[in-house]
Amino acid sequence: MKIGRVTGTVVCTRKTASLEGVKFLLVQPLDDTLQGSGVPIVACDTVQAGQGDLVLYEGGREAALALDNWFNPADAAVLGIIDQYDQVDV
């Protein structure tokens, strides 16, 4: 899993049948200091996350398994909304 910030939503009317009814979020990947790192991605929502939320997301094959209909082509999915994030220098 990785950490990201929801920066927006993506609305698509015409999309592949297996992703119908799925909300798409624009997620900015973050580094360990919660600064933006890399190119924003589009991820499927499973937890009703919204703009500004700090979230956990998964990329790759496993993301598709987060949706109710697992036979879908998703390559990123939001799995949780982060309440608390503790970091120490080790």
């Binding site: 899993m1 990785k2 937890v47 998964e58 987060a66 799995l79 949780g80 909304i81 994030y85």
Partner: protein, 98 residues
């Protein structure tokens, strides 16, 4: 498996069903000498690791499913072991917390 160091904890209430009851930690992949190697990941703990521990992580869904005793779970990064010691050729490095 990837050598990594546990750098912190993540708490989430609104999360997907398969993550319920699991401990979530942030891990920084490291080189054997302890220097960072690549980007931080978030991993599910299976071995009661804690902040500061050097661990082995698996970043592959099939193996993660076996570790978590789940199938078709949307999780691919798990902590599989806590490293006590790494021996490289003739040098030994003890990474256990003092």
């Amino acid at each position: 498996m990837i050598l990594a160091k546990v750098t912190g904890t993540v708490v989430s209430t609104a999360k997907i069903r398969q993550l319920e009851g699991l401990k979530i930690l942030t891990v920084q992949p490291v080189h054997p000498d302890g220097s960072p190697a690549g980007k931080q990941l978030v991993a599910v703990d299976t071995v009661q690791a804690g902040t500061g521990d050097e661990v082995l992580i698996i970043d592959e869904g099939g193996s993660a499913g076996i570790m978590l005793e789940m199938s078709s779970q949307p999780i691919r990064t798990v902590i599989a072991a806590i490293v006590d010691r790494i021996d490289i050729m003739n040098e030994a490095k003890d990474v256990r917390r003092k």
